[in-house]
Symmetry: C2
Subunit: 175 residues, 2 copies
């Protein structure tokens, strides 16, 4: 794998801002004409037509198949931005093991704050009993131990967070 090509994975609980921050980062790649692919839960679910549910095993399979595609793209010089919860040590270890140039960005936001914002309405659905297997609530989100970058998305604006990502990518030599 080329040393200047990366798989940048945004992890964090539902509502922590993964999609928003990853999409803002994607704009930066685009404006710099750096080859990239952007993948998030909706894109993946759409391709696979919702074939996997939300059990631990299925979530792991889902993360793994994203990792497979991401690794291959990176092998061919395409940076990959992934906005995906990847909630377990086991599966993040898999990504780390399989993708040499993997960057883990942890969007650290308190459950209270994301429940309050509830961008996608997941927490409301959960309280109403129409949704289960909500990571961070009735299913574990195993907090990253050694993320390459941690962003406190519950305490800063999207612009502030994105600036931190850009600075990080500049320090890495990607931008």
């Amino acid at each position: 794998m080329r040393k200047d090509v990366y798989v940048i994975w945004f992890t964090g609980i539902s509502g922590s801002g993964k999609t928003t921050v990853a999409m803002e980062t994607a704009k930066e790649f685009k404006s710099r004409n750096i080859p990239f692919e952007y993948l998030d839960g909706d894109i993946v679910r759409n391709f696979f037509e919702g074939d996997l549910g939300y059990s631990r095993k299925e979530r792991i399979l889902n993360v793994r198949r994203i990792a497979f595609a991401a690794e291959l793209l990176a092998e061919h010089g395409i940076n990959v931005l992934v906005a995906n919860i990847a909630p377990y040590y086991e599966v993040r270890d898999f990504i780390r093991r399989k993708i040499p140039n993997y960057i883990q960005i942890f969007l650290d936001a308190s459950l209270e704050k994301v429940m309050e914002r509830d961008v996608k309405g997941h927490y409301k659905k959960f309280k109403a009993g129409t949704m289960s297997s909500l990571i961070g609530v009735d299913d574990d989100y195993e907090r990253p131990r050694n993320p390459d970058l941690t962003l406190h998305t519950d305490k800063e604006t999207v612009v502030e967070t994105t600036e931190k990502v850009i600075k990080f990518l500049k320090d890495k030599g990607i931008f």
Copy 2:
């Protein structure tokens, strides 16, 4: 997806020559400096560390994740050669639906002949009772209805078969 970039999928029962023919085709891409990726069962199994077995459901999941990676690579201008059994209509229909520039190459070889050759020793293992879920024997291989190219690998040499693939790719404008 660029019109001149393809996902070329070699399907056929175990021992029909998928890997051999796909690898020979890969050499042709390489010698022409056309960007490509080559994927086969061993490569995929190795990446995923053998996490899926051989049930119908698991085989489908395995084909789908290859299709996902292949589609993304093709979006970025990388042709993809896949040597994978993809035994069911259902999953080949999925590939066709999801990948605009999909070429299906059917390696048609009689079970008698591949059992006789038994390149990987699968059929011997099956007879000895140490292997099950062998597609074409105790699990169905659903014969492709409308392959883009059919090759009778039990009646011709690898060189002859490969020449037919090259001719096909030339006619398609890929070579």
